[in-house]
Amino acid sequence: MQVHKYDVVIVGAGGAGMRAAIESGQRARTAVLTKLYPTRSHTGAAQGGMCAALANVEEDNWEWHTFDTVKGGDYLVDQDAAEIMAKEAINAVLDLEKMGLPFNRTPEGRIDQRRFGGHTRDHGKAPVRRACYAADRTGHMILQTLYQNCVKHNVEFYNEYYVLDMLMVDEEVTVDGVTRIQKRVAGVVSYDLASGELHVFQAKSIIFATGGAGKVFKTTSNAHTLTGDGMGIAFRRGIPLEDMEFFQFHPTGLAGLGILLSEAARGEGAILRNSEGERFMERYAPTIKDLAPRDIVARSMANEVREGRGCGPNKDYVLLDLTHLEPAHIDAKLPDITEFARTYLGVEPYTEPVPVFPTAHYAMGGIPTNVKAEVLQDSDNVIPGLYAAGEVACVSVHGSNRLGTNSLLDINVFGKRAGIAAAEYSLTADFVDLPADPEAYTVELLNHVRTSDGGEKVALIRKELQDTMDANMQVFRTAESLNKVLSDIASFEERYQRITVQDKGKRFNLDLLEAVELGFLLELAKVMTVAALHREESRGGHFREDFPERDDENFMKHSMAYKVAEGANAEHTAGIRLGTKPVVFTRYEPMVRKY
């Protein structure tokens, strides 16, 4: 085992991690640990855009943007955070332009902007052009530009280093006569994929930027590697996870694959049809039909399948019909969609409808932070020196449902904030002493995975987990379906104790790491489900058939899921205790979310 010492360690090199690194690297000695080469991060998959009220093409301002964000999140958004994000959006975009990002341009040579769902002029009066974009590759260009600037600033990367644990110590502190436990962070433990060696990184500040956890579901737009490691590590070390019941399902994933087809398709006139050829959205949203909000369209699609009007051999998807559109129009406006449909399903969208089904897209919840990106150890207290930003974090700017283009914004605004704050903290703070045997937990974890020999296959357990999550925790949820997931997970956990990993080597042992990742997935799936079970209302991305209305009186609050220590007798479900945290209101009173 080797020990490294840095002022700041950043875990993750997607948009959030690299935006943080550019700030931190110029202020303090910084290392970035990432399980993927930076440019492989899933930020690169984002297509649509990044919003900011630049008002380059029409009147707009940050206050309208704040309102849209709050309303889109069904009022579970912390309004102070949304306001900061909307204000800082403008500089976030300009920063990227100055770093070299090749945005599309207006005829005057300014950054061009286009419309995106839920972004409106003057509190919902009409759609507004707020999304800055680079063709249909905005995320790719952000990821490349940030990496280029990391190269420029000589950021130190440890590529293919998997962080598997965080080193925490509990301190007793007494403030105003009240004694409580204060968590302090000393470092992280990582596993070098190439050699199989463990490396401990001691740091004064640590930023988690490990992205999402879409792989708890079967159908997802997320990469194979988005296994929620950062959330899982934090949770195991006693940090709560906020609002984990809220996951966004995007209506149009390629059937069976989950690969995203942008909303732009329906914007351009594509129609959803069932096995009988019906334009079924006429049934659920008679006026706006296929252009209803994401959650409503997704539920309608799932309902068609559930009622037996799905298509294909297993009757498990619906169709996105573009055949009435001119091929030239499709080529001009929707090149990505046609390419994905042709490449992956062998479907020619000019003449054949494209099989689609809702796909798990975005985790609204995550590691709780305040607007300085500092991680909270409970509803009130921060952990000094520990930060989180990007999809792994919950600030909360997305509440119960994220608006399109607000995440690329989030990673830039809060990535930058985290980078600056972490560096500044490290310049004034001391190292926290590493615990004796800092790697003990990880050694034990890996040993167990490597030596356990019960013959259970990781891939099979993972598949069964994803199947039950898709069947029971997707766009329709009931107490019954959620309890089914919990009992399934209990049996998976038991089987997980008996897995066999075939690869026993040290070099590039991805077999071993997939097993470790499955451990995170199981843990997170459980947290999501328990939180969903406790939230007996429907709001944003969370829809309970047994509680179909939003219930502000009882549930206008964030959920905070804590791992219950072994043997503790606090009230809990499946080893998880659920607390709450108040929502921050500044300007806007909750209204019915109606479009």
Binding site: G109, V151, I259, E282, C311, L319, R507, F508
Partner: protein
């Protein structure tokens, strides 16, 4: 949030079309059998490369990546390869499939000749670490050497730098690069001379040289005028054929050559 209406309470959809039977419900997903012949290498076990055959039953639109996953997840967990996004945007899984560089996640099995074994091996010219995994460091080293970042001399504007749509279009093609190394590792010059910058580095230099906002084009041209630079290119077009993003790699290289020449005139 309103509960969704059920089919019973809502009006019948008016606009209905006839769907061909094979598109509506029913039918079966076609399956087919393949042999995937993978060139295995694990120096922890042996210094030898060995071809191993796997007989697999695959479905309709499965890709080479699906076949590799099937082997790893059901037969031999030690088979090692990189992948992440699974839809051609992250650049993790360039490999040699039937002798041609491609992304495993973008290559449909049914588009290959499934009567014969499908061969899969690591990309060439970079040191193999294990099975299909190569050491990417030399590749990224060349990339870093061409200074792949915007460099400006003047002072920073308060708002954005202006750039016309035409100026923006000038380098659009080379902004698509995902650094997968399919091009560089398909280049015969690179195979014999690992010092050669290789197509990917030149593509990324092109992206900045032709960006109207950048002031360091001359420096990059100077770097690529080196003996390991653009002049090593023998225009074999392997790179252009290999590029999964459809980038006109050879053309980008010749535009850089032109720029060097016209600068020297």
């Amino acid at each position: 949030m309103s509960p969704i209406e059920t089919a019973e309470t809502a009006p019948e959809p008016a606009s209905k079309i006839e769907l061909p039977a094979h598109i509506g419900g029913g039918g079966e997903i076609p399956t087919f059998d393949i042999t995937l012949r993978v060139r295995r290498y694990n120096p922890e076990v042996s210094e030898d490369f060995v071809w191993e055959d796997y007989e697999l039953t695959m479905y309709g639109t499965d890709r080479v990546l699906d076949a590799l996953h099937k082997i790893k997840w059901e037969h031999d967990g030690s088979l090692s390869f990189r992948r992440s996004c699974a839809h051609g945007v992250c650049g993790s899984d360039a490999m040699r499939i039937n002798g041609r560089n491609r992304l495993a996640c973008k290559t449909l099995l049914k588009d290959l000749d499934t009567k014969k074994p499908i061969t899969v091996e690591a990309i060439k010219g970079l040191p193999v670490e294990k099975d299909l995994i190569v050491d990417m460091e030399p590749f990224f080293q060349s990339y870093r050497e061409i200074m792949p970042f915007l460099i400006n001399k003047g002072h920073e504007p308060t708002k954005e730098r202006l750039q016309s749509a035409e100026e923006r279009a000038r380098f659009d093609d080379t902004t698509k690069c995902i650094l997968c190394a399919a091009c560089t590792s398909s280049c015969p010059v690179f195979w014999t001379d690992g010092q050669y910058f290789g197509p990917a580095a030149i593509v990324n230099a092109h992206r900045f040289i032709f960006d109207s906002r950048d002031d360091a084009g001359d420096m990059r041209l100077e770097i690529l005028n080196d003996k390991e630079g653009v002049w090593r290119c023998r225009t074999t077009f392997n790179c252009t054929e290999a590029c999964p993003r459809g980038i006109q790699v050879t053309q980008a290289i010749s535009e850089v050559k032109q720029a060097i020449l016209s600068r020297q005139v």
